[in-house]
Amino acid sequence: MSVLLIAEHNNKELKPFTLNAITAASQIDQDLHVLVIGHNADNAAKAASSVPLVKKVIQIDNSIYENYLAENFTPVIIKHAENYSHIVCSANTFGKNLMPRIAALMDCSQISDIIKVVSPDTFLRPIYAGNAFATVKSNDKKKCVTIRPTSFDAAPSDGGTAEIIKGDGADEFTLTKFVKKEEIKSDRPELGTARIVISGGRGMQSGDNFKLITAIADKLNAAIGASRAAVDAGYITNDHQVGQTGKVVVPDLYIAVGISGAIQHLAGMKESKVIVAINKDGEAPIFSVADYGLEADLFEALPQFLEELNKLNTIQK
């Protein structure tokens, strides 16, 4: 039994969630190999080989893999899948797009978004926006599994010396073309891995008012999140959305501001260690998951919050 993990990277470095997926994959079986498909991605392959839990890295290099398209990645993965019992990757937009295309061609009923490895064929996964947990067992010979990265710690990333071997690519899929990616660059911590997240909802009333949140995020070195309502209203871009169909976050501290707490939003944040809710509606469902609730007008509370933080005079790193 061996596990093949599909690395997510940008040809320069591994995406942080690959390390979380590696932890989960190594719990399935210790014979863990990582497939790095890309172009001029030697550094990403090296990064994968220095993860101590990784036993082997297979690197595929071709200019057609410079931009990630599931249509191009899938035949490569199928080609290399033969000797593995499990094909795994992160359950983010990368893996969600990719894995079912692989699974269907291997006639495997995929298990999505696992949060716990019970045994090599049995996994725990949330269903109904995390309102129920299902323990499921795969009876397929080869198993395709995606891993919720925030449910597993990141694997230590250095000290390993796994062998890197070069592998063959596959024919290009010419019917799909990458056009462009509008990546929002920010100096802030990434939403998925930040220690502190502060999120705004419909109660923010405008995109401009998010500056109240930004000021606190700067102070706490926090990532900025949002409810779907705030994104739909155009207050903030989609990459900030937390929830069932957005990102799942598990920070040490989650501060929900002007968010009522629809179950779809709770699905993305209720595993956070400490939850703070600031909302003027004392009956808002967000208070049912909050460790500390403050019933207040956010336009008064946020400036005060910043002032109190400044008084603490601690620099957060």
């Binding site: 269907a104 009923s109 999505s112 926006a129 500390y292």
Partner: protein, 249 residues
Amino acid sequence: MKILVAVKRVIDYNVQIRVKEDGSGVVTDNVKMSTNPPDDNAVEEAVKIKEAGKATEVVAITVGEEKAQETVRKALAVGADRGIHVKAEGILEPLAVSKILQKVVEKEKPDLVFMGKQAIDDDCNQTGQMLAALLNWPQATFASKIDVKDKSLEVTREVDEGLETISVNVPAIVTCDLRLNEPRYASLPNIMKAKKKPLEQLSATDLGIDTKPRIEQIKVEEPPKRKAGIKVGSVSELVQKLKNEAKVI
């Protein structure tokens, strides 16, 4: 251009989910059911493309028990031309559904297949990608904008880092995000008219697809509950608690 839109009947998104005591699943008896929300966006987009004169026919399809037909009727009430109901009982895994859809696609020969990016019951996010694989078609998943060109689509996709645009040749599969459009409501006259639109009945068995689940559901349980929190009286109290009690700032 012909568009096939797949819709799924699920527990309504506003219903508080209850887990059955015997651990066999969630309570579905006497629970409000409706169309999976992003499937509504898929229907809306197909109808809009037809209204813009870029499609000639919109066919809505569902797979499931008898009552799943309601979702097709709803699609017909907002502008789909005809419907298909493929009858199948029990838990339907995305792999089985995509095999059924593949059979129907081979018969109907649509240029595009639309569906929601994810069903809010099993949260699998698989069917569209699986269908694309089985047909060896392009897949444009998590679409928040679709531009119909001559023989292709330019699709903006919502990805973790922001937005990505890809171009896919037709025929193609598109899975729709909630932000793609604002689904319309069906008017009463249109609901009445929808009852007269053709709805073809097929079954998974007729199509030769075995829908027996491959994944064994061992148990379904409630997630761990959070312990009850407290309300604080002021911002300064909140900050003190976060610093001294929770020790997170």
